[in-house]
């Protein structure tokens, strides 16, 4: 049967990408950025040393938003081009993004307790981040509950696009909601000595993000290719219930 030969010619992939440079580079860069930020920043006049939480909290939040921007773009690209790689990239970015939003929320809570005296406040940024987290938990659950790859890809692309589109709307609504109820605004704006520390840490987090997303993506690619190889083998072998 001619199909037997097809399997042998199945895509020859032996990539075992480890991104070994980034794997040890990200902790080093992150530690360096944190040490640098600690060294150059004096205690804040309002918040004292608590200000130092900003160097992890804010970069985590920024990079979470970057991840979801990647989800948004890749989802659109998937529906447009129907290239499975866009779907896998969206899924990888969503997973990393969910981890970073969760981290942002916990850090916000740790920061809020000594600053505002409460673990949680209905602050616009914190609340929208929480909603964003829930939206992407929904995204990841949908993926987990759907087996068929094309269905999973198209459904989650739709959910990813609508979810990302909702982010600015959620933010606006929560902000107006807070303004109308008159409470204290968010903590002080960032002055220059702090800004450099913040930038360094944001870049360090970006490297973490790149490493995580690329590694997750490489694993997802490898998994799909292995599945396809097994499918092709099943198709060829005639044992069609492999």
């Amino acid at each position: 049967m001619e199909a037997t030969m097809d399997a042998a010619r199945a895509p020859e992939v032996t990539r075992r990408t480890r991104f070994s440079i980034l794997a040890w580079l990200w902790p080093v860069v992150l530690i360096a950025a944190q040490v640098y930020a600690f060294a150059i920043s004096p205690p804040d006049r309002d918040m004292g040393d608590l200000q130092k939480i900003m160097y992890v909290h804010v970069p985590a939040a920024w990079n979470a938003f970057i991840s979801f921007f990647i989800v948004f773009i890749s989802s659109i690209l998937y529906l447009w081009k129907r290239d499975e790689r866009h779907d896998l990239l969206a899924a990888s970015a969503a997973e990393v993004g969910a981890v970073l939003t969760a981290l942002t929320l916990v850090l916000g809570s740790i920061w809020g307790r000594p600053t505002w005296g409460v673990w949680w406040t209905w602050d616009a940024r914190l609340t929208s981040t929480a909603v964003l987290f829930l939206i992407f938990v929904g995204y990841l659950s949908l993926r987990a509950f759907t087996d068929e790859p094309e269905r999973r890809a198209r459904w989650s692309a739709a959910v990813g696009i609508l979810g990302a589109m909702n982010v600015p709307i959620v933010y606006m609504s929560v902000r107006w909601w807070r303004t109308l109820h008159q409470v204290q605004s968010s903590p002080s704006t960032v002055d220059s000595p702090y800004a450099w520390g913040l930038r360094a840490n944001a870049i360090a987090f970006l490297i973490v993000l790149i490493y995580f997303v690329r590694t997750r993506y490489a694993a997802a690619r490898m998994e799909r290719e292995a599945e396809q190889r097994l499918d092709a083998a099943a198709l060829a072998a005639g044992g069609y219930n492999a």
Partner: protein
């Protein structure tokens, strides 16, 4: 001094989460590599 407890907590949480996710990536990679090896074995077995 009390402030430092929160700062330390924040950095500990950050590192635990990041390293935790890196470990998850490692485990995923190991599982996927095993699947990859199996698929290659199955395909070369079928070709013979």
């Amino acid at each position: 001094m009390r402030e430092w407890r929160f700062v330390i907590a924040a950095y500990v949480v950050t590192w635990v989460v990041l390293i935790g996710y890196a470990v998850r990536l490692f485990l995923v990679n190991r599982r996927v590599t095993a699947l990859h090896d199996e698929s290659v074995r199955v395909v070369s077995g079928a070709a013979r």
